[in-house]
Every structure is written in structure tokens, then in C-alpha cells.
């Protein structure tokens, strides 16, 4: 008769513990490394969470192109792009800390819940050590909060709402893209000098987070210049025909229409405004004017000839002549056959900034990376000298005021830069009321595990 040490109860107990351990998310099993998804082999995985379906799928596709290019450059392939112009020389084309960069992608669908699900999957199943991307502020805020909980660095893509680095700022989240406050601060002086200080504005605002902060920023900046806001109307995000919203503008006493719309909303509302003759109209003895606070080339191409002469702001434009922008446009243009969008630029730069911070910190640990990014000053990435401010993880750099070009030379040549607003003019205090006031806090950085 054999004697065994196994008992039925013992086997069940061990099995239950092992099963529970296996079902735990990856990031809770990384205790031994000290942080979530610590890379162990000779590769490191980044998670690119972009809209591959839904209304911003075109922006998402351009973001993904930029990420692929960034990975290529980090791994020493291609012409190196902005690695050659970046002021920090910590990256040498051998991956990140000697580990080859690999990536996984997720589809945000421009829906917060879908974006969180795809980010969670990349963290838990694919072992992504950093999440980046997105083309909507709602998504950015939601994914940033998830990354904070999971102990992952989030490098935001295209997100323009004040809240991302304002009231919803997080220690693990970083934004290179500019924000609504900066758009208002850059645009207002140009608008005042072009259209005068005695103007009456009518706002149409997309009824969600980004719309509110953009309206607030543009209102307060233009009112400080002497403009009056006669009305501000929220429009549903799903609206396609804006005629019911546009026609009352003519008789409202306003002489400027501000369209706080993005993407398809902007294309349609601007088209409707032009169709209803607002651009030829006169009010209060002045020419009626239209302003679009946040412009993108992809949107401008959707709106066609309607954008001609209309002012707005943008984070970056391919026509910039600095060395960094030229290097990026060359790499991107030669690989894909057309110039990159501002969404592509910010995503490419965020990837390089993350890789550089890891290299300078000598660690993938989120808190070490965060520390390396906080207060980091750099140049050569297309926006001139830039600061990643420690207090709110927002990049501070010059802002471009642009205007729809009257005589475009090509299908990409739709916007012209009319002013590069210096960074000092768009800088604000970390506890600015539009940014969540004194209550806004990064919290503490989370290494996860």
C-alpha cells in the first residue's frame, strides 16, 4: 500500500490558490519587479490606443502611422526622423534601454468604455508598459484614470480639453498637445487686431467636455479683449444639420460666430454657416466673421473651400520650417506619400518623449519615468523650446494661430500660419480656475503591482 502526502483537501486548496493567482491581472502579478508589466526579455511592448473605427477613425489612422514611424526610428530603422533633431541625445536607435520596441494596438472607437476596455486588454493581456493615443478628450480622461489605477504611464494623444491636465489631471498622465485655454489665449489678440475689440460673439458649442472648456476659454479671452458674448448654444454631438442653430444667429445682434466644434460637427456647422450666407452678411455695420478655435488639416480638407480666410488655432502644422518639423515631414512624407497631421505629430513626439524619459531615468518604472518627464525642457521636436511642467504634466510651448488659405497649392495646403504665439502668452498658473482651481491635484504616482 503506497503512502502519499497528497490529500483531497490539500489538492483542492492548492488548486484554488493557483487558479486565483493565474486569473489575477498581469499587473497584479508583477510584484517581484516593483511595477506593472516590467519588461523581462529583450523587448518592450507599447500600447497604441487609437480610434480605428467611429467618427475619428481618420485621425486614428494617422496617429497609428506616426506610432509605427516612431517605433521604426527608436529601433534604428529608417532615417531617424526627429531623433536627429531632438535636443536630448539619450536615444541612440537601439530601442529603449537596449530593448527592441514592439507594439500592440487597440481601438478606442471614440467611446470611453471601449477605450478603457482596449487599454485594459493591452495592459493585462499584452503586457503594455505604456499606453498612448486617442483623439477625444472624453476618452483621454477615461483612459488616463485607468492607467493611474493600473500603474501605467499614459502619454495622451490628441486631447484639447482643459480637463485632461486640469481638474482631471493624474500623476501617471502626460499631455504634449495644447489645450482650450491656450487656444483662447493665442487667438484672442489676433482676433482683436483683425476684427477689432468691439465685437459681439455668438457661440455654438458641442455638448460635451471639450466643447465646454473651449467655449469657456475663448469667451473669457475674447471678453477680456472687449468682446461681448451675446449667446452660447449647446449643440448635440450627433447633430449633422445645423440650420436650426445657424439661422437665429443672423438676427441675434452678433457679428461673430464661434464654432466650438471638432471633426464632422465642425465640417457640417461651418458648411451650413457658409450656405446661410453668414460670410457675406453684415451686422452692426461690420462684416460678419466666423472663428473655429481648434483646427486640424484633416477637418479643413473635409470643409473644403469653406475654410478660406477663417481663423483658428492648431498645435502643429507640416509647413513649419524648423529643423525638427522638416525632419518629421520628410520621414512621414517619404513613407506614406502625404504630410502628417497634428494628431500624428503629437503622437510621434509623445512616443519619443516617453522613450527618452525611460532612457534618462534608466528604468521603465512609471514613477521614475514621470520624474524624468516632470520639468523636462527640450527642443527640436517641432514646437520650439518646450517645458513639460511638473505641476500638471502639461507641455508649454508656442501656439500656432492659423487661417484657411485663400489659394491652396495642393490638397494638403489648406492652412497658413499667421502667428506663432509665444509660450509666455499662453502660460497660466497650475491652479487657474479653468484648470480645476486649487482643488486640482495630480495625486501620487502609481507604479502599480
Amino acid at each position: 500500500m503506497s503512502n502519499s502526502n497528497f490529500t483531497r483537501r490539500g489538492v483542492l486548496k492548492t488548486g484554488a490558490i493557483a487558479g486565483a493567482g493565474l486569473t489575477l491581472p498581469t499587473y497584479l502579478r508583477a510584484q517581484e519587479s516593483g511595477f506593472t508589466n516590467a519588461p523581462t526579455g529583450d523587448t518592450v511592448t507599447l500600447g497604441f490606443n487609437v480610434p480605428q473605427s467611429g467618427p475619428y477613425a481618420d485621425e486614428g489612422a494617422d496617429e497609428l502611422r506616426a506610432y509605427e514611424l516612431a517605433v521604426e526610428h527608436l529601433n534604428g530603422e529608417g532615417d531617424g526622423g526627429m531623433l536627429n533633431t531632438f535636443s536630448s541625445k539619450a536615444l541612440d536607435g537601439t530601442g529603449i534601454l537596449g530593448k527592441k520596441v514592439e507594439y500592440v494596438t487597440g481601438d478606442t472607437q471614440t467611446k470611453s468604455d471601449a477605450a478603457r476596455a482596449s487599454a485594459r486588454s493591452m495592459i493585462e493581456k499584452d503586457g503594455a508598459v505604456m499606453i498612448t493615443g486617442g483623439s477625444s478628450s472624453g476618452v483621454a480622461v477615461a483612459v488616463q484614470a485607468l492607467c493611474q489605477e493600473a500603474g501605467i504611464i499614459f502619454m495622451a494623444g490628441l486631447t484639447h480639453s482643459n480637463d485632461t491636465t486640469g481638474k482631471d489631471r493624474k500623476a501617471n498622465g502626460f499631455r504634449h498637445f495644447f489645450n482650450s485655454y491656450m487656444s483662447g489665449a493665442a487667438l484672442a489678440p489676433v482676433l482683436a487686431s483683425e476684427y477689432g475689440t468691439d465685437r459681439k460673439a455668438y457661440h455654438l458649442t458641442a455638448d460635451y467636455n471639450w466643447g465646454y472648456t473651449t467655449e469657456e476659454a475663448v469667451r473669457s479671452s475674447t471678453e477680456a479683449m472687449g468682446w461681448e458674448t451675446v449667446n452660447a448654444v449647446k449643440t448635440p454631438l450627433t447633430q449633422t444639420d445645423f440650420s436650426s442653430y445657424i439661422s437665429p444667429v443672423l438676427n441675434s445682434g452678433a457679428d461673430v460666430l464661434v464654432l466650438n466644434h471638432y471633426g464632422g460637427n465642425m465640417v457640417n456647422s461651418l458648411t451650413n454657416a457658409v450656405q446661410f450666407g453668414l460670410r457675406e452678411a453684415e451686422a452692426n455695420g461690420k462684416n460678419f466673421e466666423i472663428v473655429v478655435p481648434l483646427y486640424s488639416r484633416l477637418m479643413a480638407s473635409g470643409a473644403g473651400a469653406n475654410v478660406k480666410g477663417i481663423y483658428g488655432s492648431t498645435n502643429w502644422h507640416w509647413s513649419l520650417q524648423d529643423e525638427g518639423s522638416q525632419a518629421f515631414v520628410k520621414s512621414f512624407g517619404e513613407k506614406y506619400g502625404f504630410p502628417p497631421s497634428q494628431a500624428a505629430h503629437t503622437c510621434y513626439v509623445q512616443t519619443l518623449l516617453y522613450a527618452d524619459a525611460v532612457s534618462r531615468a534608466g528604468s521603465f518604472a512609471p514613477c521614475a519615468v514621470g520624474e524624468a518627464l516632470e520639468g523636462f525642457e527640450f527642443d527640436g521636436l517641432g514646437n520650439g523650446p518646450t517645458l513639460y511642467r511638473a505641476e500638471d504634466h502639461q507641455c508649454f510651448k508656442d501656439v500656432l494661430v492659423v487661417r484657411g488659405k485663400e489659394n491652396p497649392q495642393s490638397e494638403f495646403d489648406l492652412l497658413e500660419v499667421v502667428e506663432v504665439t509665444p509660450v509666455d502668452q499662453v502660460t497660466y498658473a497650475p491652479d487657474h480656475p479653468q484648470m480645476g482651481g486649487a482643488d486640482a491635484s495630480l495625486g501620487t504616482c502609481n507604479n502599480g503591482a
Binding site: S53, G54, P55, Y56, A57, D58, A61, N231, V233, K234, P236, T238, T240, D241, S243, S244, Y245, S247, P248, L250, N251, G263, G264, V267, N268, T271, N272, Q275, F276, G277, E280, A281, E282, L298, M299, S301, G302, A303, G304, A305, N306, W318, S319, V329, K330, G333, E334, P339, Q409, S410, F412, D413
Partner: protein, 343 residues
């Protein structure tokens, strides 16, 4: 008063689109008994017929621009449409400019074909299945169609302008004795409204005054008896499906300059058009048209800043509120046949 007139005008063009889509929907429901959730996708396909036609007419070859360079510093080339080469610059430019109206000629056979393929290839297999199955399969088809369009044309709206001759706005206020430029109405929306009127009149005329139409109406009233008279009513109903698809497609073609075509526009119209059909009365053609205009105008009024300030969100729920009231008080809809939806 001027705002009252403005909102009625705004409601007319949206109401025209609702009426045209709902007309097709109710035609299909009345003849084939199918609840076609892919009908919005047909509207979207119609508007992409305008996009395709304007791309065909603008098909270009590259011409070098001496002394200029592109964004990479290479010699600049500019696109020259072939129609410029074939018909001269002035005539070529006019042809490109009139792409949307020209698209009508392209859209009619294409949409009838699409409707025919949809009905014969898929929907006929679901005639004897419950309405829930029909809704599921047509809804799935709508998703497939919009994803196919997104694959080829991208997710961003594509600007498809009206001919320059219709680019401006009519000063309606000056006509009616108001201050100049208080009531402006874009010419193209006026064209759309008139176009919708012609299409609706043509469909009614076809059903009312042709033998084919008479048989179809008889089939709608009593399919079995018509079948027993030796008439192949199925074939005629298939044609009606194609006709309904063409009506939705034409509504889409002409709508392209009003709202830039995008892959999702069918879904935006679908649900509202269903509400229009329910309010008008399932299977009732005059009901669909009347409810289309009625709800278009109501929606327009509900979107006035004055209304939204007092009742936030009213612009988004007004149509559904009306639908609830109608369903509670008169389930067969405004002009529905007695007994329909009332059992």
C-alpha cells in the same frame, strides 16, 4: 415672426429628407411587409453616389507646375481633370461643378440595382420570418454597408458642394416685406424641397395613375386575391423595393451638398425616419409624407435657442415625445389603416 418663418423653412428641407426616406420605408412595409432597417444605409449610399460621380468627373492626371516644389521639395505637379482635356477648360469646369445634379442619372440605375440585389439576395429569405428577424438582418446589412463605405472613403465627412449657381442664399425676408437679410434660405435647400416635391408627386402619380401602380396598390390591400387573379405580385413588389431604394438614394444624392456625406449619415436618419413612419401610420404613404414634414418642422422649432434655453434637451426628444403621444392615443398613426398596430 421672422424666426417662426425661418424655422418653418428649416424644417422643410429636413422634413423633405424624412418624407423621402419614410416614403420608401412605408412602401416596402406596405408591399413586402418587411421592416427594412437598411433603408438609412440606402440614403447614405445615394449620397456617396454623388461623391463617386464627382470623383469620376474630377478624375485627373498630373501636370507639372514649373518653378514650384511640393512639401518634400520635389517638383510640384497639379491635378488636371480629364474633362478639361476633352471638353476645354470652361466646359470641363462646368461639368465638374454640376457633379451633384449629374449624379442623379448615375444614382437611379445604381440604386435600383442595389435594391434589387438586396431584395433578391437577402431580404426575400426573411419574408416568412418574424419582424424581429427582419430587423436584425437588415440592421446587420446596414452596418456592413456603412463599414464598406468607411473602408473605401474614410470616416471624415466629404465635402460635396452644390453647383456654384446655387451657392448663395435667397433673401426670403425681403420678399415677404421684412428687413433685408433677416430670413435667409440657401438656394440649394429650396432646390431640395422642390426636388422632394417632384419625387413624391411622381411616386404617387405612378401608384395612382398606372396599371402597374394599381396592381401594386391592390396587392398592398389584399395580396392573396391579386395572386389568385394570376398576377405575379412578387415580381412587382421586388420592383417596388428597387423603386424605394432609388427614392432613398435620390434623397441622399441631393442631400450631399446640405450635409457632407459620411458613412454614418444613414444611421442618423434611420431611427427618425422610423418614427416618422410610425407617426404617419405604418404602410400609409400620405401619412409618411405628412409626418415627415410635420416632424421636420417640429424638430426645427425645438432647436431654436429660445426653446432650448427653457427646455434643455427638447430638441433631441421632441420627435420621440410626439411618437409616444401618437402611439398612446392613436396607435395606427395619423393616417394609418384601422387595425394596423392596434391589435
Amino acid at each position: 415672426m421672422d424666426q417662426f418663418i425661418v424655422q418653418i423653412l428649416n424644417g422643410l428641407d429636413k422634413g423633405s429628407a424624412y418624407a423621402l426616406i419614410a416614403l420608401g420605408l412605408t412602401l416596402i412595409f406596405g408591399t413586402l411587409g418587411v421592416v427594412n432597417f437598411a433603408h438609412g444605409a440606402l440614403f447614405m449610399l445615394g449620397s456617396f453616389c454623388a461623391v463617386i460621380m464627382s470623383r469620376i468627373l474630377s478624375a485627373s492626371h498630373e501636370v507639372a507646375v514649373p518653378g514650384e516644389t511640393d512639401f518634400l521639395g520635389n517638383p510640384l505637379t497639379r491635378d488636371q481633370p480629364y474633362v478639361y482635356d476633352w471638353f476645354g477648360e470652361a466646359a470641363g469646369a462646368t461639368i465638374v461643378d454640376w457633379a451633384v445634379p449629374i449624379s442623379i442619372l448615375f444614382a437611379i440605375p445604381v440604386m435600383i440595382g442595389v435594391g434589387f440585389i438586396m431584395e433578391r439576395g437577402l431580404i426575400k429569405h426573411f419574408y416568412k420570418r418574424p419582424h424581429a428577424d427582419q430587423i436584425l438582418v437588415t440592421f446587420a446589412l446596414a452596418i456592413v454597408l456603412q463599414e464598406v463605405v468607411k473602408y473605401f472613403f474614410g470616416a471624415n465627412p466629404i465635402q460635396t458642394p452644390a453647383p456654384d449657381a446655387f451657392a448663395g442664399s435667397l433673401d426670403f425676408g425681403a420678399w415677404l416685406g421684412f428687413e433685408p437679410r433677416t430670413i435667409m434660405y440657401p438656394y440649394w435647400r429650396l432646390v431640395y424641397f422642390l426636388f422632394a416635391g417632384v419625387i413624391i408627386a411622381a411616386v404617387f402619380g405612378f401608384l395612382q395613375f398606372t396599371t402597374f401602380g394599381m396592381v401594386v396598390r391592390a396587392g398592398m390591400a389584399d395580396r392573396e386575391t391579386v395572386g389568385m387573379l394570376g398576377i405575379d405580385i412578387d415580381k412587382r413588389f421586388t420592383f417596388m423595393f428597387g423603386l424605394a431604394a432609388a427614392v432613398a438614394g435620390l434623397a441622399g444624392v441631393m442631400y450631399a451638398p446640405i450635409v457632407a456625406p459620411n458613412y454614418h449619415m444613414g444611421m442618423d436618419f434611420l431611427v427618425l425616419s422610423f418614427v416618422v413612419v410610425v407617426v404617419g401610420g405604418m404602410g400609409s404613404l400620405p401619412g409618411a409624407v405628412a409626418a415627415g414634414f410635420l416632424l421636420g418642422i417640429l424638430e426645427s422649432f425645438a432647436s431654436m435657442p429660445w426653446m432650448v434655453d427653457r427646455l434643455p434637451g427638447i430638441n433631441q426628444i421632441i420627435i420621440y415625445l410626439v411618437a409616444i403621444i401618437i402611439l398612446l392615443t392613436r396607435p395606427r398613426g395619423l393616417m394609418g389603416r384601422k387595425g394596423v398596430m392596434e391589435d
